[in-house]
């Protein structure tokens, strides 16, 4: 019954992350803390890769279907989007362009400096 070990580890680290986020009143989401805890456990060898690899990859590969229900929630905000279409979409497009180019140029400069 191998998959249960992997699932138990993944859900366990999620629970641990949620608990830590709540107990310490942190603004970082519990799921992200859980990821950091699991990463630390893998790096220290407390958890072996083969215990979680298959189950984790199943989650990561199938993540996109999970965005659909929260995304559908947009129906509740049609009015807001219509009234703020300009700030929303202009910011979205310009911010994407700036982020893409600034990140690329920063890394490129760093790499040229090395050569």
């Amino acid at each position: 019954m191998r998959p249960y070990r992997g699932l138990a580890i993944i859900f366990g680290f999620y629970a641990l992350g949620e608990f830590a986020s709540f107990a310490l009143n942190l603004t970082i989401p519990g799921s992200v803390l859980g990821m950091l805890f699991l990463l630390a456990a893998l790096l220290t060898g407390a958890i072996r890769l083969e215990w979680v690899e298959g189950e984790a990859e199943l989650f990561v590969r199938n993540m996109s279907v999970m965005f659909v229900p929260p995304g559908v929630g947009i129906v509740t905000y049609i009015g807001l989007i219509k009234s703020q279409a300009v700030p929303i979409f202009v910011a979205l497009i310009l911010s994407f362009l700036v982020t893409l180019v600034v990140t690329a140029k920063t890394v490129e400069l760093l790499r040229r400096g090395e050569e």
Binding site: Y14, V32, L36, F67, V68, G71, F96, A104, K105, R111
Partner: protein, 224 residues
């Protein structure tokens, strides 16, 4: 809890995934097409979002363990992270910060309301983490989800071409820029042109998610 909402979600997503497998293009993105289709269906039949979500909430719940699972690809990429530690660290620090500040300030300048600013700030981070951040800082998670997907679609459709126009040829720079600016959908595109750039992009996506979730809540306190 009734099984209709989750069944509807799975059927619609399955059909659009089949379409996407046949015609790989940014405009066949199954997530966005599914969201639009289900939204239209709910409207047609007059179904309130709440009763759909009562059933579909189980899929949303799985985002938590899915984010935890991202530890595995990061762990497996540890040699790549070590080899390009300086580029990855600086690229994420600069790019991740620029992504937040530019979205926030441009929206503010154009008269966006506070909830819009908070919802758009995490738009460059992978959807699952962005939804978590939006919830934590008082944004609208549904709006964040849609904005993140639209950002990803821009990167998927135009990222490599724009990097070409900006004359960026370095593979590491291209990969990092795609992962930091347009998360999973950007990574899916760049991996088709170069495996190393794709690997760096995927790692940048996950690490930028961690960076942004650490930085954004504190930055928002200063910005508000």
């Amino acid at each position: 809890m009734n099984p209709l909402g989750i069944t509807l979600t799975l059927v619609v997503f399955y059909l659009f995934s089949e379409l996407h497998a046949r015609k790989r293009a940014f405009y066949t993105n199954p997530v966005l097409l599914s969201i639009i289709t289900i939204a239209v269906i709910l409207r047609w039949f007059g179904i309130p979002y709440g009763s759909y979500m009562d059933s579909a909430v189980i899929l949303k719940f799985l985002l938590g363990p899915a984010v935890v699972s991202l530890a595995v690809p990061v762990y497996k990429g540890r040699e790549t992270i070590k080899a390009y530690a300086k580029e990855i660290t600086l690229g994420i620090a600069v790019g991740g910060t620029v992504a937040i500040l530019s979205a926030f300030y441009i929206a503010e300048l154009l008269g966006g309301s506070e909830e819009v600013l908070l919802s758009i700030a995490p738009k460059s981070v992978t959807t699952a983490i962005a939804i978590g951040i939006s919830e934590k800082i008082g944004g609208i998670p549904a709006l964040t989800a849609v904005l993140v997907i639209l950002t990803g679609i821009m990167g998927n459709a135009l990222g490599p071409e724009l990097l070409g126009l900006a004359r960026v040829r370095d593979r590491i720079a291209r990969g990092l820029a795609m992962g930091v600016s347009s998360h999973g959908l950007g990574t899916a595109r760049i991996i088709l042109e170069d495996e190393l750039a794709g690997a760096v992009s995927g790692l940048a996506m996950a690490l930028n998610g961690v960076f942004t979730s650490l930085l954004l809540p504190y930055l928002i306190e200063v910005l508000k």
